[in-house]
Subunit: 202 residues, 2 copies
DNA sequence: AATTAAATAGACTAGTTAGTTTGTTGCAAG
DNA sequence: CTTGCAACAAACTAACTAGTCTATTTAATT
């Protein structure tokens, strides 16, 4: 049984390092050898654990990205009252990790979507599924916000969810080559202004 | 002098076809041969007109993209009164071309920025310059809108500009693999809601 | 028609990549 | 201790890529 444990540990390590490099340089601009060099492993090890580069990447999406999206963008809402407040916190937290140039998952998704769109239907489909999870969660919480009296019941939850996801991914893109700190400040400022249009005045 | 004309025509054709393929498949995932195949031209022709693949791409940015960004996102503002109205039209027009799966330039910029970031500083610098032109134009027109009494003079023009660019690029990204028509509708709807927070009530 | 240079063709080089294959090591069970 | 297999090493293959080089075609000028 020890063997199995070691196998899991190695695979986990490979996926973790793989994600970091894929995220930094892009999937197509990262060779299997690049990842293996960082891992101090050989081709033999790689193809022992994974059938192909694509399967390796898919396993990363399923085992790492999916979980992180859940814990960063979905879990925070549980048991909370006012979705607008949580949204504010959630997005600001995400931008904070982005500001420190760390790997934030909303952006990881949009990055890979850009790269794989039109090239690999399997991966695109997976990415869309993860996006959907994020979107559905937003919509659900906005609806709950309506019944709880926080969100104006005239607002279109679907549209708000799309708008929030869009603006977040867009600002995240600008942050890559702009002034992250300033952009984060500006973004949150305008986001709050936007929130006023969907919340109930008390 | 006829030679010079032909040269120009060929280069123009190469750039036009090149952009279409680079946009569709990405720069790094497009070989020079891919472009030449579409053009029915040979390696000799390519390297007669351009020094390298990179120089070819840069010439596309300078000669095509820059001009289009100007004509689509900047020129429409000239001689107009209410910037909020023009903004609405501008972004909706851009999304309309996007809806028909055509090449819209705000998105072209964000796509290439994602691809080149961290890989080619020269290209990134150029892209940033084009972004800057867009941003400066937005800010200028928002400021003008203040003095003309259309925009609330308390709003932060810089922040609004960033927020608009962000949300646009973000929704454009979602449109690639979502329902473009629906997303466009939702986006414009929320955008108008947002505009209410920055315009002067009359 | 002959000349000349621009424009193009396409074989070739050197380097890279995903994936294969064959061989080696380490460790647990018999 | 030795057998057997999991886990890895690394040389190798085949396909692809940017860029070079030489030969050929095209078209304007004399």
């Amino acid at each position: 049984m020890e063997k199995n444990l070691k196998r899991m540990a190695t695979m986990q390590r490979m996926q973790s390092v793989g994600l970091a490099i894929f995220y930094k340089n892009g999937y197509y601009d990262t060779s299997v050898d690049d990842v293996l060099k960082e891992l101090s492993l050989s081709k033999g090890a790689f193809y022992y654990h994974f059938k192909s580069k694509e399967e390796f990447f898919i396993s990363i999406l399923q085992n790492i990205i999916f979980q992180k999206v859940y814990s960063e963008l979905i879990a925070p809402f549980e048991g909370q009252e006012n979705p607008a407040v949580i949204l504010d916190k959630c997005l600001d937290n995400a931008l904070e990790t982005a500001e420190h140039n760390q790997l934030d998952n909303g952006f990881v998704l949009s990055n890979f979507m850009t790269e794989f769109s039109g090239k690999n239907e399997t991966v695109v489909k997976l990415l869309k599924e993860i996006f959907k999870v994020w979107e559905v969660n937003l919509i659900t919480n906005l609806q709950k916000g309506k019944t709880d009296g926080y969100i104006d019941r005239h607002v279109d939850s679907d549209a708000v969810a799309s708008f929030l996801m869009s603006s977040y991914m867009g600002v995240r893109l600008l942050m890559v080559e702009g002034n992250p700190k300033l952009l984060r400040y500006k973004y949150i400022q305008q986001l709050r202004s936007y929130f006023k249009t969907i919340t109930v005045k008390r």
